[in-house]
Symmetry: C2
Subunit: 360 residues, 2 copies
């Protein structure tokens, strides 16, 4: 069986043409002893993909093939690989490498490695000149640490979005103690938020969805929410003053965001953790706003390997799945995905599928 040294995928050339996907071959990084080649079957469409190729997060290395919610088959494993077997169905998320040697990597914080952080797309593999390319493509090549076996019972197209969106919600939930006896809020019912509600409930927390209008209330309750807060309603925060242990802020925009009201709902030393990265300017924060309840404000960056495995197992154990609309991978399907993501017309995730058709 011939091993691929190139992958074929759909690249964008600039932010001005971010809905124009060109099918091209590009080089993979040199195959390393710990690498796994993954033949892709499905890939979720993440908000990051849109922010990145449309220029919202600043300059990027074009041409670029994005996509980092990847599920596929391990078709080749390096001689030193022990975590993955050839033929296994696996996932790859937003990160593809870290140094592995620093204090942070050794303490389960490889997703915050300060030494070397290689994103699944748009990062340069050291000493190669090769820019990592994502999952809107036929193959990815990834260090085994960042490749995750997918439990049998999970369907590829439904589990794919968990690899970034799901993990982004899951990691801060478990790191901040979501579980029985805790009151957890999820702000923003989108790709990340719908997993947030699902996982917070699955972890045993009293789970509240927090959205602008009541439009998504029925969905939120189906996802497992015990309660629902609509911030367009006068006095929405009042019944909840000083009561939330954790709120995960998944909002994708900070426009018109009255942070003070949200923070007033936090119990003493509650955690307000942002996982969305709005393109707008930040919020002015004074110590005065934080002192009445000693709330802690933070942000969270995806998750580590163990959390990924735990999340997938939780999903398998409880039968959790992303709410997914499938689109055919290709220039047309990706254009539709980008246009609808920009408008927020997605409930709650697109997964690109039909890879066999696109890459013969």
């Amino acid at each position: 069986m011939p091993y691929p040294e190139e992958a074929e995928g759909f690249q964008v050339d600039s932010p001005d043409t971010y809905t124009d996907f060109k099918k091209r071959f590009f080089k993979l990084k040199p195959f390393g002893d710990y690498d796994v080649d993954v033949k892709i079957e499905a890939c979720g469409v993440c908000g990051s993909d849109v922010h990145t190729i449309s220029g919202g997060w600043g300059s990027q290395k074009f041409p670029l093939c994005v996509g980092h919610e990847i599920v596929g088959r391990a078709i080749r494993v390096g001689p030193k690989v022990t975590l993955i077997k050839e033929g296994q169905r696996v996932g790859v998320g937003a990160q593809s490498y870290s140094c592995g040697d620093c204090k942070q990597c050794k303490n389960g914080n490889e997703n915050y490695c300060p030494v070397l952080m290689i994103d699944t797309y748009g990062a340069e593999w050291p000493d190669t000149g090769i820019i990592s390319q994502g999952g809107y493509s036929s193959h990815v090549r990834t260090h085994e640490h960042w490749v995750f076996p997918i439990p049998e019972s999970l369907q590829s197209n439904l589990v794919a979005p968990m690899l970034c969106a799901g993990l982004t919600a899951y990691s801060p939930l478990v790191r901040n103690g979501a579980g029985p006896g805790k009151k957890v809020g999820i702000v923003g019912l989108g790709g990340i938020g719908h997993f947030g509600v699902m996982f917070a409930k699955a972890l045993g927390a009293e789970t509240w969805a927090i959205s602008r209008s009541r439009a998504k209330e029925a969905d939120a309750r189906k996802l497992g929410a015990d309660g629902y807060i609509a911030t367009a309603e006068e006095g929405w925060e009042k019944p909840h003053l000083c009561s939330f242990d954790i709120i995960i802020n998944c909002a994708n925009s900070s426009k018109g965001f009255d942070l003070e009201k949200y923070l007033s709902m936090m119990d003493i030393h509650g955690r307000w953790i942002s996982v969305g990265l709005p393109e707008e300017e930040g919020q002015v924060i004074k110590a005065q706003n934080l002192i009445s309840n000693g709330v802690l404000i933070g942000a969270s960056h995806i998750g580590n390997r163990q959390e990924t495995l735990d999340m997938l197992q939780l999903a398998a154990d409880k039968g959790l799945k992303g709410w997914v609309e499938e689109l055919q991978i290709g220039s047309e399907g990706l254009k539709e995905a980008m246009e609808r993501m920009k408008k927020g017309d997605v409930h709650y995730r697109f997964t690109m599928t039909g890879y066999d058709k696109a890459f013969a």
Copy 2:
């Protein structure tokens, strides 16, 4: 022995005349079953006193007698008091009451009680019309929960500033895990900060003082600092990237404060806790600034009863004492204290003493 229904103290009438202290009698709150009357011997001069009477924190209830780092003698205890004995030497800090009934009060968070928070000065005692008056006076009347026995070995004038400044540093240190194996920074070597260095070291943490210039380095090391960072020096943050578990920000001003550099020094999920309340506008914070190390930003409000008792015991066990300059209580001494506090000309706390002379 006649019990006082009034106290005599030094009041300020407005922010415009905040160095003009008038000696007057004022009514104490009605004596309750759990109340303790304290005849004052010493009172520290807190930054809050200056902010409050000079108008920096907004409008206040004048005329007002400030001072909330009080040490004195319990000369009368209510019939239901069990925590304090008549004749005992005791302290009173910045808070004099909380509801005692809410979830927060019952969980050791009475210093964040969302129901009823009575500051030692400037707060109205419910249903009385009486505004609480502080320790630049002959007596205070305080609920026993907020009155703390002072260990014998601690001198009144040196321990007084611990009741607010000390506790303000101590509580966030212990709540955020300062101890052996942790790297702790204290920003701003003033009244609170000098206790921060002292207590962080006493708790067993690797302790760094962080100040603008090297002017206070010798002092910091005498207080117990293992290391010293001068932020006027180019590249000051570089040797410390991603290494601090906790930084307590005691800075009294946020002017020219490059928060991003400070935050870059925090280890993953490190805690940046502010206890100073600058009068200026706050900092703009974007999730992007917090995400590379998942740092948590918070603020802390004094401490609870148990922490106060623990802090005093730690001070007694380790022979810790505030660095204090004594001033004679009275219009002149208070004027000098305020003027020198405004200029930052204090190393590191004033304690007003000589109460017997002032209140015959």
